[in-house]
C-alpha cells in the first residue's frame, strides 16, 4: 500500500465514524431525512463561503455552510408549524429550492469559481491526499484528514459529555423536560453537529455519500440491537468496515470511491436485513408463518374442546368445519400430534390430557388478553414449533 492509499483509507474511516455517531441519533429520532435535506441545502452556504474564503477547507466556509444546514432545519420546522403542509412535504420543498439557488450561484459565477456541483454532490476521495496542510514549510498530512479529525474529536467529546441527555431526549422528550434537560437545546445541538459533519465530509466524500454513511450504518445496527451503546459501536464498525472495503472495491473496478462505499454499505445492509437473527426479513417471515400455524392450532384445539360429537371431530370433516385448505389442515394436525396435544383414533381426533390443559390455558389467555403470556406458554407445552 502506498502512502496516499493509507491516507485515503484513514480519511474514509474517520468520515465513517464521524457520520455514524450523529446518524444513530437521527435514525432513532426519525429524522434520517433531515440529513439528506442538510446535505443538499448546504450548497448555497458552501458557494457563498467559497466566494469569501476561496478555500474549500477553510473553517469559516464550514461554519457558513453548517449555518445554512441549521437554517434549513429551522425553515422546515417553520413551514411545518404553519400547518399548511405536512412535515415531509416541508422537507421536500425546502432543500431543492436551496440546492437550486446554489446551482444557479455556481452557474452564474462559473468563470471565477473552481467549484462544480458534481464535486459537491459526489466528492472525490481520491484527490483528498493532494491537498496538504502546510505549516511553516512542513507537511502535516492531508487537510481533510485534519478537518474531519477535528470534527470527529468534537463529536466524540460532545457525545461523551451529553450522552445521558441525548439518550433521554431521544427516547422520552417529556421525561427530559421534567428532568430539566431541554429537548430543544439537544435537538439544535444535534442538528448543528450533523450540519458541521456533513459540510466537513462533503469535500472528501460528497453530499450523497454523507447521507449513506449517516443512515445506513445506524439502520443496519438498529436491526441487530436495541441497546443504544451497542448500536453506536456497531454502526461505527459497519461504517469503517464498509468504508475500507468500499475503497478496495473501487480500486479494483477503477470507479468512484464514494459510490463504491455507498454500495458496500448497501450490501452490508441487505445482508443484515435478510439474515438478522431477530429483526431480519427471513426470521420475521419464518416467525410470521410459525405464528400463523400456531394460532390455527389453538383455534383447532378450542374447536375440539367445544365439540363432543364425533362428526365435528372427524378428520375428513375438519376442512369443512374450520374452513381450512387441505395442506394447512394437515400441517396443523401434524403439529398437534407431534406435540402430543391430540390423539387420533379411528379417524376421530381426541384431545390428550396435555392438550386439554393447554386448551384451557389458551382460553384463559384469550379471555385475559395479555400479550406476554402466550410465548412462555407455548414453550412449556410445545416440543416442536410450527
Amino acid at each position: 500500500m502506498s502512502n496516499p492509499q493509507i491516507e485515503i483509507q484513514l480519511i474514509a474511516a474517520i468520515v465513517a465514524i464521524a457520520c455514524a455517531i450523529p446518524g444513530v441519533f437521527l435514525v432513532l429520532r426519525k429524522m434520517a431525512l433531515i440529513s439528506d435535506a442538510i446535505s443538499h441545502s448546504i450548497l448555497p452556504g458552501i458557494v457563498i463561503g467559497f466566494f469569501i474564503t476561496q478555500d474549500l477547507n477553510s473553517p469559516l466556509l464550514i461554519l457558513l455552510a453548517a449555518l445554512t444546514g441549521v437554517i434549513t432545519v429551522v425553515m422546515v420546522e417553520f413551514i411545518q408549524k404553519t400547518g399548511l403542509v405536512k412535515e415531509d412535504t416541508a422537507i421536500g420543498l425546502v432543500f431543492p429550492v436551496l440546492f437550486s439557488i446554489g446551482v444557479i450561484l455556481i452557474a452564474k459565477n462559473a468563470n471565477d469559481v473552481h467549484l462544480d456541483v458534481d464535486a459537491v454532490l459526489l466528492g472525490e476521495l481520491a484527490f483528498a491526499p493532494f491537498d496538504r496542510l502546510m505549516v511553516g514549510g512542513a507537511d502535516w498530512g492531508p487537510k481533510s484528514l485534519w478537518v474531519m479529525g477535528s470534527i470527529l474529536f468534537i463529536t466524540i467529546s460532545l457525545l461523551i459529555l451529553f450522552f445521558k441527555e441525548l439518550k433521554v431526549t431521544t427516547f422520552d422528550a417529556g421525561l427530559s423536560s421534567v428532568l430539566g434537560i431541554s429537548p430543544v437545546v439537544m435537538h439544535y445541538g444535534l442538528m448543528s453537529v450533523s450540519s458541521v459533519t456533513v459540510v466537513g465530509a462533503f469535500d472528501a466524500v460528497g453530499a450523497i455519500l454523507v447521507v449513506a454513511l449517516m443512515i445506513a450504518p445506524a439502520a443496519t445496527a438498529h436491526l441487530l440491537t436495541e441497546d443504544l451503546k451497542k448500536m453506536i459501536w456497531l454502526s461505527i464498525l459497519f461504517g469503517v468496515v464498509s468504508a475500507i472495503s468500499g475503497y478496495w472495491v473501487a480500486n479494483i473496478l477503477d470507479a468512484s470511491i464514494s459510490g463504491s462505499i455507498a454500495t458496500t454499505l448497501g450490501v452490508v445492509f441487505l445482508l443484515v436485513y435478510l439474515f438478522a437473527p431477530k429483526k431480519g426479513l427471513i426470521s420475521v417471515l419464518y416467525r410470521q408463518k410459525q405464528q400463523r400455524i400456531e394460532v390455527s392450532l389453538i383455534t383447532f384445539l378450542l374447536h375440539l374442546n367445544r365439540h363432543e360429537e364425533e362428526s365435528e371431530r372427524h378428520i375428513n370433516h375438519l376442512q369443512e368445519h374450520i374452513n381450512w385448505r387441505a395442506v394447512r389442515a394437515k400441517s396443523v394436525l401434524d403439529l398437534a400430534e407431534k406435540n402430543n396435544l391430540v390423539e387420533i383414533e379411528n379417524q376421530v381426533v381426541f384431545l390428550t390430557e396435555k392438550g386439554l390443559a393447554f386448551t384451557e390455558k389458551s382460553l384463559e389467555y384469550i379471555i385475559n388478553n395479555k400479550d406476554e403470556k402466550i410465548e412462555p406458554m407455548k414453550e412449556d407445552f410445545f416440543l416442536f414449533r410450527g
Binding site: V27, K30, M31, A32, L33, D36, I79, T82, L84, V85, K86, D88, T89, I91, G92, L93, P96, V97, F99, S100, I101, V103, I104, A107, K108, A110, V117, D118, L121, L122, I208, L209, V211, A212, M214, I215, A216, A218, A219, H222, L223, A250, L253, D254, A255, S256, S258, G259, S260, I261, A262, T263, L265, G266, F269, Y273, K279, L281, V284, L285
Partner: protein, 374 residues
Amino acid sequence: MNIQEYFELVWTDYTLRTITLGTAVLGAICGMLGSFAVLRKQSLLGDAISHAALPGIALAFLITGAKDSGTLLLGALVSGVIGTFWIRGITTKTHLKSDTALGLILSIFFGFGMLLLTFIQKQPNANQAGLDKYLFGQAATLMESDVRLMIIVTGISLFVMVLFWKEFKILLFDADYTKTLGFNTKFIDVLITFLIVLAIVLGLQTVGVVLMSAILLAPAAAARQWTNNLGTMVLLAAVFGALSGVFGTAISASQNNLSTGPVIVLVAGVFVLFSFIFSHKRGLLFREIRFRKNRTDLKLMKTLQFMYGIAQEHENISHPHAIRILNNFQGFTKGSLKKLENEGWIAIDGQQWAMTPTGYKQAQEMYNQKPINE
C-alpha cells in the same frame, strides 16, 4: 435573448418549442400525480425514487449499450420500482421507520448508480457522453421523440386516473373504509405508486435526479393552499406545474449559463411561496389579518361589556357617564369608542358617553353566542 424575445420565438423556433412543450407537459403530469403523493404523505418517496432510478439508467446502458432515452428510462423505471418495493419491505417487515428506509434506499441506490457511472466512464468503448445529464437534467437535450413519449405517458396516466378516479379518491381519504367496501386496496395503492414512479422517471432527463422531487411536490403543495377539493387541486397543480415549466424554460433560455432544472424548481418555489402567503383561505397573510380582526373585535366587546356593567346600575340605561371612568379599564381607546359609536351602540357627547338601547341589547345578548357582524 430576453424573455419577450423568447415568447416571440417560441412559436417559430423548433428547438425552443420542443423544449417548452416538454417542460410544460412534464410540469403538468408531475403536478397531477404529485397531488396524490402530497396527500398520501409520500412526498419524499419521490426524492427516494428519483435517486433510486440512477443505477437503472447505468445498468440499462451497460447491458444494451443503447443511448436512446426510451431504453434508459425503462431501466430507470425498473430500478425505481425495485427501490419503492424495497422501501415498503423495510417499513412493513422491520421496525425501521419510513424516513430511515427512504434515506437509506436513496443514498445507497444513488451511490451504486455513481459507482456504475464512473465505471462506465472508464470503459474503453464507452460512448457514455449523455449519461451525466440524468444527474442534473438538461432540458436542452429534449427531442421531439422524448416529448412525444411524455405526451403519450401523460395521456395514459390521465386516462387511468379518470378511470380509477373514485378509487383513488376514496383510498386517499379513508383506506380502511375502502377495504371494507371490497376494493382491492393493494392494487389501487400499487397503481398510484406506479404512476408516481412513472412521472418521476419521465422527468429525469429534463430536471435530473436531484431536483425531480421538487417538481413533483411544489405544484401540488401550492395548489393545496387554494382548494379543499381533490379535482380542483389536481387541475390547479397541473396548471402550476405547466406554468413553472414554461417560465422556468423561458428564464433559463433568456440567460447564459442557467440550467433549466434549478430554474424550474425556483419558479415552482415562487408559486409555493405566493400560495403560502396569499391564499385566501389558508394563507399566512389572511390568517394574520383574521387573527388581528378577531382580537380587536374581542377588545371592543370587552369595552362594551364593561359599559354594560355600569349602565346596568342606573335606571335609565342611556344615562350619560364621563369617559374618565373608563380609564382604569385598558381595553378602550379613542378609536374603539368611535367604532362603538359607529355601530350605534353608544352615543358620545363631549367627554361623556351614554349607552343606546341597541348597545344595551347587544351587550345583554353577547353570551347568547350570536355572531357580532351580521
